[in-house]
């Protein structure tokens, strides 16, 4: 009955995620146990906790979790944690400063994962404005941070952002 051309939405009850002793996400999906599972956000920018693709270690899709919130408590927390690990995209809580020092833009940021600093060569290649006020900041080394909605930042941060952009 499995139609290979159909997107398979996993019923919340069929998913039971656990973290193995080694810290790797695994668990039961539709009655099969997997030692290692990878999860992908299908719309990383639009949906944080919806439409999560669950794949085995070989990268084959087992199905899509429509909404993280529908899962039962333990699975939900593990999945949320795993997504946070896999999608390393710290949310910016506060822009401490943005300096233009001899042709390098240095952003000092406070994120929900701790303070960090980004260095950009220019703004047009490294700052992407998305719809809904989302801003993705990337760094020369490939590190990225996101501002979920610049309109909801505090005044201090907004001023920095408005002054630079």
């Amino acid at each position: 009955m499995k139609d290979p051309y159909e997107i398979r939405i996993l019923p919340p009850a069929a998913v039971n995620l656990k973290r193995g002793a080694g810290g790797v996400l695994g668990g039961k999906v539709e009655n099969t146990h997997y030692e290692e599972l990878t999860v992908y956000r299908t719309f990383p920018f639009r949906f944080d906790e919806e439409y999560i693709s669950v794949r085995n270690a070989k990268g084959e899709e087992l199905g899509i979790i429509r909404e993280l919130a529908e899962l039962e408590q333990d699975s939900r927390e593990e999945l949320r944690r795993e997504l946070q690990y896999r999608y390393f995209l710290p949310r910016v809580n506060r822009i401490v400063s943005v300096k233009f020092k001899s042709d390098l833009w240095l952003w000092d940021l406070k994120t929900h994962l701790g303070p960090t600093r980004l260095a950009m060569r220019n703004l047009q290649d490294y700052v992407q404005l998305h719809s809904g006020g989302r801003v993705i900041l990337s760094d020369i080394s490939g590190k990225r941070c996101q501002i979920t909605d610049w309109r909801s930042l505090d005044g201090h941060s907004r001023k920095w952002l408005e002054d630079t952009l």
Binding site: G20, A21, G22, G23, V24, G26, E35, E36, T38, P44, R81, Q84, Y85, R86, Y87, F88, L89, P90, K101, S102, D103, L104, L106, T111, L113, G114, P115, T116, A119, R121, N122, L123, Q124, D125, D139, I140, S141, G142, K143, R144, D163, T164, L165
Partner: protein
């Protein structure tokens, strides 16, 4: 080989054996910014977090495999043990290459294999001077390339026009000096001529003097203007040439990461901004400074007390300028950005105009444009509005100075301690003094735009092409055409290999068919052979010479390609066919077209071989374009021929004809052909099946179809089924 990390002393003490690897990860176990240390010895792998006691210790004997699992924006090092997989550390994107290496090392150490070698590229790159991360391909740290150097580099462009610039400069000095004469003459006129009676001869003389200075000034200005325009145009030409040739030299990887339409604007606008700075800016600054000093000198010698009064507002102006400067730079940058976006949008929509029309999305495009357009208007208003605000403020300040002079000077004249003419002269000179101050703003504007432009331009000029010719390339002459891939691994992003450990020996004259699913890495394979990109690991050699030591020009002379995306240049069909060999005779062009089965359709067109094909060859059908592209490769007469889906858009009958022609053509040439329609590859000596970046099966058609469950067999079966339905021969 060592990473540049040094394990802290108190961790170091816990491991007695010599270390194979010590490095730091930049995330803590919870995935927050922090640090963890990892050390590998011949016995074990140890990970520390904050505490002195290790967070994780794994004997190497228990380790089955180590993998660097890439995630988004970072990754994690997974260790497979007998008891299941273990996450050793997590790290951000900056450290991905290093941990890729670490994984390989751990695996090799656990299996007692030869340890891999750490290459410079695996380490996070940072500027030796300031520690900020470096861009790939950048040698100069952006941080350390300061404004002064930028200006000097810009000035270097003016060097060839030294003579003209000097003449313009001298003329400027002369004009400045001559300009100083009229107010003085006015003073004489008022005080000495008009004041005294019966001085008509002297009146005429003074008027004559005034007339002469005006004439000289006008003449000099005209000459200077002409020189300025001449030098300026030449400079623009030089800038554009340099930017464009730098762009042409850059490797494909540079363009993969950037929006290419932005360069159209860059080549023109940035060159213009730099030119303006060099011709108008530099000369003007020198001229104005000179005038400033001269006027000041005259003013003081006329009446130093009054002059001091007039200068009272100057400090305010300096202060104001200093406050405004950074703001202007920022506004200018924003404006530049929004215009760039607008240009990009136009470029995008027009390039895809067919898709836009096909889906009837003209309105969406218009509203997208409208949005960006509004932004540009908004930025423009802010920028220009700023000037509208600054000008009056500056005039107000200078006006205050003039008022002060009128007040004090007027009193003195009434008292009779000052002559009226001197007061008039003072006022005129004061006007000249403050004139340049208003000019400072224009200078600020020019300089900041020019600096930004120069920075962007030099960014391109300084980027070292990732694919570089070696210092002394091996001359190859005409090659035989043996090709060897040895353990080639390559990924467009280093940590995500698209081709893995490809080993393949191809004898000269052999025809290799590359097959595999879409995205398997077939095009990448030939991109590497053409050396559009350099391999990450392993090497490719032609006739036993690694292609890295062959100059790219020599290499490409020997290789003819028909790429998957056919691109025809603006020009006639004949010019397009003869692209690689402009000296080709009409006969040669026709012969090549004939081989590509393009001759007939070309001749049937009213303009024949002189038919103009637009930007993308829009006047031709997909299959016609492909045949022109094949002819282009044919006329190149390469030793190695590469056909990437060269016949995908032609019907089977045409394809058969092209194939026959190619079969004759490939005779004696090494050929790589990629095709999804397997029948295309029926002449291939060997078929190479790629799957997920690895070579899966190699052999002749007959050999491969015999492999039960083989990928090739499946592909053939699928196509046979399809053709059965359609009743077509495969």
């Amino acid at each position: 080989m060592q990473t540049k990390f040094k394990l802290p002393e108190f961790f170091q003490r816990q491991v007695s054996e010599p270390l194979l690897l010590e490095c730091k990860a930049d995330l803590d176990p919870e995935g927050c910014f922090g640090e963890q240390w990892i050390a590998v010895s011949e016995e074990k792998l140890v990970v520390w977090h904050r505490d002195e006691a290790p967070r994780l210790t794994l004997p190497l004997a228990e380790i089955k495999d180590a993998r660097a699992v890439s995630a988004v924006g970072g990754g994690s090092l997974h260790i497979d043990t007998d008891f299941g997989p273990v996450v050793a550390v997590r790290y951000t994107a900056a450290l991905i290459p290093m941990f890729d290496y670490a994984a390989k090392l751990i695996k090799a150490a656990a299996h007692s294999e030869e340890l891999p070698v750490l290459s410079e590229r695996d380490l996070p790159r940072s500027c030796p001077q300031c520690g900020n991360p470096l861009d790939e391909g950048m040698q100069v740290c952006a941080q350390c390339m300061n404004k002064g150097k930028l200006a000097i580099r810009m000035l270097r462009y003016a060097k060839p026009y030294k003579l003209q610039m000097v003449i313009a400069g001298v003329l400027l000095i002369l004009t400045t000096l001559v300009e100083l004469i009229p107010p003085y003459l006015t003073k004489i006129m008022i005080d000495d001529v008009l004041g005294a009676a019966r001085q008509s001869t002297r009146l005429l003389a003074v008027i004559g003097g005034l007339g002469l200075t005006t004439l000289v000034m006008a003449a000099m200005q005209a000459v200077r203007g002409l020189i300025g325009i001449w030098v300026g145009s030449k400079l623009m030409g030089d800038f554009r040439k340099d930017i464009f040739s730098a762009l042409m030299k850059l490797s494909l990887a540079f363009f993969d990461r950037r929006q290419t339409t932005q360069f159209i604007g860059r080549v023109n606008n940035d060159a213009e901004a730099m030119r303006q700075f060099l011709t108008d800016g530099v000369i003007y600054v020198i001229g104005q400074l000179l005038r400033f000093v001269a006027v000041l000198f005259i003013l003081f010698s006329l009446d130093w007390k009054l002059t001091l009064f007039a200068l009272i507002p100057v400090p305010f102006m300096v202060l104001l300028s200093m406050k405004i400067w950074p703001k202007i730079g920022r506004l200018a940058y924003q404006q530049w950005r929004s215009i760039l976006r607008l240009n990009m949008l136009v470029g995008d929509s027009l390039q895809g105009i067919r898709v836009v029309k096909a889906f009837g999305r003209e309105r969406t495009e218009m509203s997208r444009y409208e949005q960006t357009n509004t932004e540009v208007v908004h930025n423009n208003l802010r920028m220009e509005g700023m000037w509208q605000f600054i000008f009056p403020v500056f005039s107000l300040v200078t006006g205050a100075g003039t008022l002060l002079i009128w007040y004090h000077g007027g009193h003195k004249v009434l008292e009779g301690t000052l002559q009226l003419g001197t007061l008039m002269a003072l006022l005129s000179y004061l006007g000249m003094l403050f004139g340049p101050l208003e000019w400072i703003q224009q200078m600020i504007n020019w300089t900041s735009t020019a600096m930004a432009a120069a920075y962007r331009v030099f960014e391109v000029l300084d980027t070292v092409p990732e694919v570089m010719d070696v210092h002394e390339p091996v001359p190859i002459g005409t090659i035989k055409g043996d090709v060897a891939f040895t353990k080639v691994t390559y990924g467009y992003e280093k940590h995500n290999p698209v081709l893995k450990e490809i080993d393949l020996q191809v004898k000269s004259g052999e025809m290799i068919g590359l097959v595999g699913h879409s995205g398997a890495g077939k095009s990448t394979f030939i991109n590497l052979l053409c050396r559009f990109y350099d391999t990450d690991e392993g090497s490719i050699s032609i006739d036993g010479i690694p292609i890295r030591s062959i100059s790219q020009t020599d290499l490409r002379k020997q290789i003819g390609v028909v790429l998957q995306e056919t691109f025809l240049f603006e020009g006639s069909i004949a010019e397009n066919i003869a692209y690689a060999k402009p000296e080709a005779t009409p006969e040669e062009i026709m012969r090549a077209a004939k081989i590509a089965n393009a001759h007939d359709f070309i001749v049937r067109m009213p303009d024949g071989y002189d038919t103009q094909v637009g930007e993308r060859g829009h006047k031709l059908s997909g299959g016609e374009k492909q045949r022109v592209a094949i002819a282009r490769a044919v006329i190149h007469d390469p030793r190695i021929l590469i056909l990437d889906e060269a016949t995908a858009s032609v019907d089977t009958e045409t394809e058969r004809q092209i194939q026959e022609a190619i079969a004759r053509l490939v005779h004696g040439r090494t050929t790589f052909a990629i095709a999804h329609r397997l029948s295309t590859l029926r002449n291939a000596d060997r078929l190479v099946v790629l799957d997920k970046g690895r070579i899966n099966e190699v052999g002749t058609h007959e050999e491969l179809v015999k492999i039960p469950g083989g990928i090739y067999r499946k592909l053939v079966e699928a196509q046979q089924e399809l053709s059965k339905i359609k009743g077509v021969e495969v």
